[in-house]
């Protein structure tokens, strides 16, 4: 396209990323939280709706001319009463500046009926102006709908969740990493690993490293982002492995590979083959868990250290749980757990708990911690609720926390949370 200034229409605009921390200094996050949830939306609405009110008032005045009108406003949109009241106030003020006065119907020269409505894309305000006994004129304005509100704040019990990040594209994994100049958040999705640094309480994108792959990714794509000692991180995707550079500037080299994925962050950890065109591990282990090198196909695995041994829990594709201690394979059926589980070290109880996704309700899901006592799962925490299904759950590199990815059914966006365990609650 050689023409000057072509109109580029390129997929979906990449939405503005918002990030926020919770935990830590309470007042430190409370102030920006209040600013973000209470003050900013009001200011934003005032500005957006103020502009819209000015436009509509101008259009109405161009039909009625100066004088007295009666004004009725009907709300057929999702705006709340306060917003409608604010809009009425703004409209009346703008009309006055146009020389139009609001009067009772019997004193008015014209009557104006305003309807506040909305399509899926925008607010649409219409004004029907009676200009004769049977004649009316219609004027319209539209203004973009505000993006949906950010998710609810954390509600810490025994399990505590800290909101990390949200974006429209499915998040596969996320990791926090300490670097010179402050912490960075790495976010893995199907197309890239994006690195963010904090600026004024927000995550600002610093770089985006594209993931190249020749094989088609499966539906229900899964991916793992593992921090490394000798370089920053590895990315494991079905049929693809990527390795970051050792030094700045950060780069990412990806290759087709069927190499098994590490099941924990430890170097030399048990590794498992991932089916390249599916969403599960095939069950082939290298090295094996003790004598077991062929387990049933599974979605996720967690390692619970015991005195002198490690108990592995596998969430099998057929819905059963397999408890592997290197010698025996005990099968538990009917647990009604989700297929995502992870180990989380707390230092309390036996030291490491099993974190399990529970309901899979499209509107709400929860995580719950369990201990495996005498090979029977025992609930260790109250459920930690989420406003959508947990679609990914991985143990963090440190082993003391996990990252949960939640899909919000109301917005379709994905949210990453850091999950930790508080003892003694």
């Amino acid at each position: 396209m050689n023409e000057a200034s072509p109109t580029t229409r390129y997929n979906q605009p990449i939405p503005h990323m918002h990030g926020r921390w919770s935990g830590g200094l309470r007042m430190g996050w409370l102030a920006p939280f209040l600013l973000a949830t209470a003050v900013l939306p009001s200011l934003l609405s005032a500005t957006v709706f103020g502009d819209a009110a000015r436009q509509l008032a101008h259009k109405i005045a161009s039909v009625t001319g100066p004088g007295a009108i009666s004004l009725e406003i009907a709300n057929r949109s999702s705006l709340d009463d306060k917003s409608v009241s604010d809009i009425r106030g703004a409209l009346e003020a703008q009309l006055r500046t146009e020389g139009v006065r609001i009067a009772q119907p019997d004193e008015a020269q014209r009557s104006v009926e305003i309807t506040l409505s909305e399509s899926l894309r925008e607010y649409v305000w219409s004004a029907q102006i009676m200009v004769g006994a049977d004649e009316r004129k219609v004027v319209l304005i539209s203004t973009p709908r505000a993006p949906s509100a950010s998710p609810a704040s954390a509600m810490p019990l025994v399990l505590r969740k800290s909101f990390l990040f949200t974006q429209e594209q499915p998040i596969l994994d996320a990791a926090l990493v300490e670097m010179s100049g402050g912490p960075r958040l790495l976010v893995l999705d199907a197309g890239k690993v994006a690195a963010y640094h904090q600026q004024a309480g927000r995550w600002e994108q610093e770089s985006a490293l594209a993931i190249t792959h020749s094989r088609t990714f499966p539906r229900d794509l899964r991916g793992r982002l593992l921090l490394r000692r000798d370089h920053l991180f590895d990315v494991h995707l079905p049929g693809t492995i990527c390795r970051s550079s050792v030094t700045a500037p950060l780069t990412l080299a990806c290759n087709d590979s069927d190499d098994p994925w590490p099941l924990t962050a430890d170097e030399g950890a048990v590794r498992a083959s991932f089916a390249p065109a599916r969403n599960f591990f095939t069950g082939a282990l290298s090295p094996g868990i003790g004598k077991v090198s062929n387990a049933p196909s599974f979605y996720s695995a967690a390692a619970l250290p015991r005195s002198g041994s490690v108990l592995w829990i596998l969430a099998a594709v057929d819905g059963s749980l397999h408890l592997l201690d290197g010698t025996t394979d005990q099968v538990i059926r009917g647990a009604k757990w989700g297929s995502d589980l992870a180990a989380i070290g707390s230092g309390c109880g036996t030291g490491t708990q099993l974190l399990v996704s529970e309901s899979g309700d499209p509107a709400q899901d929860s995580l719950r911690a369990f201990e495996i006592a005498d090979r029977d799962p025992v609930a260790f925490s109250a459920p930690l609720e989420f406003d959508g299904p947990v679609v990914a759950l991985w143990t963090e590199g440190s082993g003391s926390a996990a990252v949960a990815i939640v899909e919000r059914p109301d917005t379709g966006w994905y949210e990453a949370y850091r999950i930790s365990v508080v003892c003694g609650s």
Binding site: P6, S117, S119, F280, V390
Partner: protein, 451 residues
């Protein structure tokens, strides 16, 4: 319809037992029932809504479009990854997804896609080279992306026997015209292999038969009558779309009702609310506009309330000839609605005889509003209803309103209702998230009890 709704609700209540969350499983065969019984897998130009939805859903399983449009009207990549237009909107350039293959193994190259689209649109010049495809037209194409997303622009080739060969998540494995269609998962689908191994689609089943088979556990996905939003909310197993169809009265060019006063009076006489609340059991929305509010946001300026006094005043003392009203006998609700309209007309002195024989002065029709893009749906509605093509320069709400108002001021059509489409699934179906625009997401469905 009440009985069908009861059957559906009973089945849904029994089957709605929640299971533990799990990732999608691969495998199994999805059993689908449809009303339509197509002899060939092609979208007929004048398809009635039932045939439109059935064929569009089948084609969506077999083929991809360059673009798809989400419910908010935004273009999303499909076979095209990126696109741009020149400032006039007369020349568009697309980058085609690399490495996509048709089910027969041939490459879905830009050149092949260009040939497919060029054959369908004589007024476009379509060229493909490398991974780049250009579409040019003498006239601006501001709604090209929405047009490309319509089912009629699915990128398909045909076998010697006429079977479609696409790039979609499923390929045809067996077709018995009018009876049965079997699809197999496309292992090389660019969007990832579907979760189910195959889909068996039984054709030509009434809504009642479909509801019974679902209740008996012999089907997995069925069509359902339009449901009120409340009923849909009570069960995750019945899903109702946004209103994506228009029911309207259309005057024939030779109608005896040439006097616009009669047409205005009839529009004022029809009490739409009881039709929606009683005859349609609360499904849909009364409408006096062609496009529904979710597309435009301005339907409130088209009042739907009946006004008998004004209707009588419009008619004054003029003597009007008796008019005939026909309807589509394949539409289960049409006859009752037509008779109700005739009753309303009589109250203001218009004689409307409901008849299926002979040429009609007025027809009760139901049409599909096929795109979430309002300009595209308005153009399509005008084409199907035989109205002049609207003059639209963009999607600005003022332009759209003016174009729609102009169409309605022609007195050739009286909008009555905006209707949703509904579907229901069995308890073993997971990840059933049909689009709010009525499309199905068969490739993302997986089956709970298949191991």
């Amino acid at each position: 319809m009440r009985h069908i709704a009861f059957l559906l609700f009973a089945a849904a209540s029994l089957l709605n037992s929640a299971a533990g969350a799990t990732r999608p499983h691969y495998g199994g065969t999805l059993r689908v029932l449809l009303q339509g019984a197509p002899e060939n897998l092609d979208l007929p130009a004048g398809a009635i809504p039932t045939d439109y939805w059935d064929t569009a859903r089948l084609l969506a399983m077999l083929a991809d479009n360059l673009i798809r449009i989400d419910a908010a009207g935004h273009a999303q990549p499909a076979l095209a990854l990126t696109w741009q237009s020149d400032p006039t909107g007369k020349r568009w350039q697309f980058t085609i997804r690399h490495g996509v293959k048709f089910h027969d193994g041939s490459a879905a190259s830009a050149a092949t896609i260009a040939q497919t689209l060029g054959d369908r649109h004589a007024d476009w010049t379509v060229r493909g080279s490398g991974d780049s495809l250009t579409i040019e037209s003498e006239n601006p194409l501001p709604s090209l992306l929405a047009e490309l997303a319509l089912p009629r622009n699915a990128i398909l080739k045909r076998t010697a026997t006429g079977l479609p060969v696409g790039t979609g998540p499923f390929r045809v494995s067996e077709f018995q015209p009018g009876r049965l269609l079997k699809l197999a998962a496309n292992e090389e689908s660019w969007a990832g292999r579907p979760f189910v191994d195959g889909v068996e689609i039984d054709l030509g089943h009434s809504l009642r038969d479909q509801a019974i088979t679902l209740e008996l556990g012999k089907s997995d996905v069925i069509e359902a009558p339009p449901q009120p939003a409340a009923l849909s909310g009570e069960s995750q197993r019945i899903r109702t779309s946004l209103p994506v169809e228009l029911m309207a009265l259309v005057f024939s060019p030779n109608s005896k009702a040439q006097d616009t006063r009669v047409r205005d009076a009839l529009a004022l006489a029809i009490d739409r609310k009881p039709i929606q609340a009683v005859l349609l059991k609360g499904a849909g929305e009364p409408a006096a506009s062609i496009l529904p509010n979710w597309m435009t946001g301005y339907s409130a300026v088209f009042p739907t309330q009946a006004n008998l006094q004004r209707a009588r005043a419009v008619l004054a003392d003029s003597r009007q000839p008796a008019l005939t009203l026909n309807y589509d006998p394949r539409d289960p609700q049409a006859q009752l609605i037509a008779e109700r309209i005739a009753l309303n007309a009589r109250e203001v002195g218009i004689t409307l005889q409901v008849s299926l024989s002979g040429p009609a002065d007025v027809s009760l029709v139901r049409i599909v509003l096929p795109s979430p893009d309002p300009a595209t749906s308005l153009r399509e509605a005008a084409r199907v209803l035989g109205l002049p093509q609207p003059l639209l320069h963009g999607n600005a709400v003022d332009d759209l309103y003016t174009a729609e108002r102009t169409l309605l001021d022609g007195h050739a059509v009286i909008p009555l209702l905006h209707l949703p489409v509904a579907s229901a699934v069995s308890g073993r179906v997971r990840n059933w998230e049909p689009a709010r625009t009525g499309d199905w997401n068969v490739s993302d469905i997986w089956l709970e009890d298949w191991r």
